[in-house]
Subunit: 337 residues, 4 copies
Amino acid sequence: MAGLHVFDVELPEEDFPLDPPGVGRAAEGKRYADAAPWRLETPIPDGVADRVVESCTPGVGPRLVFSALDASVAGDLERAFADAGHVVLSNARNHRMDPVVPLLVPEVNAGHLALLKAQARLRGGKGAIVTNPNCSTVVLTIALRALHDVFGLRRGFLVSLQAISGAGYPGVAALDITDNVVPYIGGEEEKVEMEPRKMLGQLDGGAIRLAGFQLSAHTNRVAVTDGHLVCASLEFERAPSPEAAVEVLRGFQPPAGVRGLPSAPDPAILVSSAPDRPQPRRDRDAGRGMATVIGRVRPDPLFHLKFVVLSHNTIRGAAGGALLNAELLCAQGYLAG
Amino acid sequence: MAGLHVFDVELPEEDFPLDPPGVGRAAEGKRYADAAPWRLETPIPDGVADRVVESCTPGVGPRLVFSALDASVAGDLERAFADAGHVVLSNARNHRMDPVVPLLVPEVNAGHLALLKAQARLRGGKGAIVTNPNCSTVVLTIALRALHDVFGLRRGFLVSLQAISGAGYPGVAALDITDNVVPYIGGEEEKVEMEPRKMLGQLDGGAIRLAGFQLSAHTNRVAVTDGHLVCASLEFERAPSPEAAVEVLRGFQPPAGVRGLPSAPDPAILVSSAPDRPQPRRDRDAGRGMATVIGRVRPDPLFHLKFVVLSHNTIRGAAGGALLNAELLCAQGYLAG
Amino acid sequence: MAGLHVFDVELPEEDFPLDPPGVGRAAEGKRYADAAPWRLETPIPDGVADRVVESCTPGVGPRLVFSALDASVAGDLERAFADAGHVVLSNARNHRMDPVVPLLVPEVNAGHLALLKAQARLRGGKGAIVTNPNCSTVVLTIALRALHDVFGLRRGFLVSLQAISGAGYPGVAALDITDNVVPYIGGEEEKVEMEPRKMLGQLDGGAIRLAGFQLSAHTNRVAVTDGHLVCASLEFERAPSPEAAVEVLRGFQPPAGVRGLPSAPDPAILVSSAPDRPQPRRDRDAGRGMATVIGRVRPDPLFHLKFVVLSHNTIRGAAGGALLNAELLCAQGYLAG
Amino acid sequence: MAGLHVFDVELPEEDFPLDPPGVGRAAEGKRYADAAPWRLETPIPDGVADRVVESCTPGVGPRLVFSALDASVAGDLERAFADAGHVVLSNARNHRMDPVVPLLVPEVNAGHLALLKAQARLRGGKGAIVTNPNCSTVVLTIALRALHDVFGLRRGFLVSLQAISGAGYPGVAALDITDNVVPYIGGEEEKVEMEPRKMLGQLDGGAIRLAGFQLSAHTNRVAVTDGHLVCASLEFERAPSPEAAVEVLRGFQPPAGVRGLPSAPDPAILVSSAPDRPQPRRDRDAGRGMATVIGRVRPDPLFHLKFVVLSHNTIRGAAGGALLNAELLCAQGYLAG
């Protein structure tokens, strides 16, 4: 991936503020390792620690730009980069619901990249903004894609049990989560209720028309390092049996051109037949952290289906997802200009 | 509470098997402390450690009997004690759904004790069986009582995040729950969907007619020592605003004769206005572990109300609940005979 | 305890910086509950939430002052209060090793209060400074007091496993401690090696002469909410058997005048004979969080004794310890002036 | 590794009893996946689930045998296999301290394999027994090897913080370790004090003479899934500075023939210069779980050096260590017969 311009690898996918030393002008000219302390279990890749942080100047540097900026500054700065000709892959929430900005998950809506032409028309530029969804909505939406296409989703209840890494670093205080659950994540329920409707929406005259289903979400923080789990109860236009749903999920194929991408998991969806899976610690690394794992598919007494779905929030839901998006953009020629 | 006959204080309220040394004939004649190792944070009360475990013989001992027997043996043995004239307060699941057996939570259905006359008629005896509900249904049902009476519950989605102590000791293996969630508890979802319908049911000709609402449950185990938390989305006959619901919950009064009982919490329901409460570690001890704590009462996009409810599963949901039930039986004269 | 002037109840006993909203001029004039968010499991006491935070002005307010100031400002401010006639009970590290300032644990060195006369002579004032030791040294020093008096401590190895609450709030990031140990606490090992020597030192001509034993410490942070545990291996002048050590520990009597104080635990030291105690969650609340719990007293292959000692770091090691110190000052007439 | 005969992959390296369904005649004839439920995060390797468990019959099957038998049966059964010509690689404690049985860690004492000739002489057979050390002693002994050779170890204090996986499955109850530390592991301190003396002992007339240094150990269980951490304070014949010790540790070379083995980590020892490392979650996977990670090398006030050492207890300390031992045996021709 030559040509990546990295602002910051700490991706606070729930839009929590970054800790100040990691961003802004204070980092310019520093060694990367000094500007952004490395906090992952895997060691920092060779050559990265010593790279020097450049100033954040639109028009300078490679065409593809990854943005992990805080929402407080991402709006204007990402726009400025796009206007200067960059293709900006953003992890911030600012532009996610803009009807001409793709909220991109390749397995779900690779076709939404057609919006980049609408962006060019509207803004007269060569650049564009593409956004990653919130880490907890990715988990769910790949599963919804498969089921919605066949059975027509009408309504759904979603209750998440989210990992602490979703709040960035330092993020959640140990005193708040040890021997505890926090049944609240600021702004999260609104995203879970809305973002899937955009991701599964239809292209319509150069913009996205939201899908018509309705969702209700409860979001909880639990004492898990990585892996967001969602309990889902869904109602459809055409009621599926659990067996039919499992068959559809197991047979799910991403759009052409997605499956062979370097970071694309294969299969995209794993369905467990164990009675007590998926579990965050045991399943989050499936497909190198990029797969969606589903289990406990069973009838729901009120709606049609109940199940549990899991994915890795800092890989699939953040950095890995951004990388897959970049691979799709590259493969489809959007980075050639 | 003179006259208690204690089989075992380890109450595995989710019907997990007890560890073998704690039960059965092997314990007879032993010191209590040797037969049932004490595992609570509070020290063993004076005089209890040295009491000698007696044989489990119907007809011998006090009229009131607490049963924490494993479900594999509770059915017949509790019946035998009742037939021999004892009033059996059971924590096992065996008789919970019997239409003439009260599934007793004093704040919810003290009036169901009228079934004891029906039991006497049916079995011709002086004894009776009264059951404690499952620890995760108690949490919810006190809240439902308040709301159902005023707004008429129609349907509800319930997702629990349950503490490890709910599985008894040794119960959950640390390797299964550390940095993890287990989205499955055997037999639990069925109880959560059914027991509230009995607890809120109507007395009808000497039996309980189940309440007509429908529930759908997902149950999860999380890394919390004590305190079961439930995320609820509810639909009613008469749609309440969140404010109206809070007012009803805050104003809830248990039936006459319950409020002054020694173990009865006052108030029975606490409503938090904090955005992120209740939380297990911070709220489970409210009302000495006997209160129900509710928070985040807000509109639901699909049904009418969303909220979070919590109580202490080994106090309110097990031993403390059994004690309160005994106090009610005593106050109402059922132990006099 | 009328007359208390409370700066801040969050006691960061390891000298971590306080979060800014809780301190300084920004808090003046605010309701207490707004200036210092309440984070304990027990509810805020009646009447405290609505009290108004006053300015931090030496000479104003009651004679007794509790200081939980951050070390960055405690040095000068506490001195100014003492010079203005207040008796300052400090939890900060700044004055702890001053030879005329008592490092007070009533059970250990109530007699060190005689230093207050030396302070008065030296500074010409009516006020004085008295300090609380670091939370992890309190744990150990009460045990050392008992043993040192009888057997003469010569050398000791001490390895602590410390709770997250020791770092204040927000303190330790959940991502740093979940499924993890951090074998480092800044500045802590130096305090554990030095403070007990002052606490067990001799009054000598108006100052404390450090005790002559030598200590070596390793300090670790573990995923425990409250309760600091220390593994100790000790060498003495007169080698005790484990049985003799246990007898001395069990027979330990605090100095006259300490035992009856309202917050003084009785007994001060509990010795467990269980093979696997003390444990933080199960033993930290002994003596309402004020007792020292010791177990596993056994021979050491290199020195003489090995044992494990535990106490509650935010009660005994911070606020509760400060309160007991105040009670001693009051009982001995130091607050009368 | 064709020709492996696997009794059971659950290696309870602290000699805790295996759960009954996993061992013994009850497993014969079953599919492997049914006889021994798979509990690792990585999926069961292709072809393993369907293999059929054979009877445990000495003389049948491959020459090399891995034994993860429980100590209650390992003594006789492993002896019977050795007498029948097998080379038995045992993880049980039974034969570890036998003076003619190598307690093998290739980096530490590959030369101890010369004992296999002594075994052959003594027992007249072609087979032999080779043992893995206890998981917590491996951690330490590789570090000791490097330092002892240069500086001459005299005495050491060792305090372990051990992971729950060390107790096998189900092993530690979640209720015992959540928000807690258990300062006791049955039989463990004795092993930590003794096994390194054998591993670092000298071959002397066909047996091992224990090394002359003395150790004192405290062992603790903490809420960590994998990774045993040890705080060490060491005294030497020739006092090293921390810098000299780090140089020796960084320059450590395993015996000839070990470095190139497939499972041998390279380097064998990693020394961190971070102030707060090693940490279990962040460092246990170093060298694919086979490396020893050391940090905080600093002067000790009583002895000469303090440091912290970590390794992965179920990889380096159990199955991975056994595999490396097998690779060494194979490379040195001991499996040829």
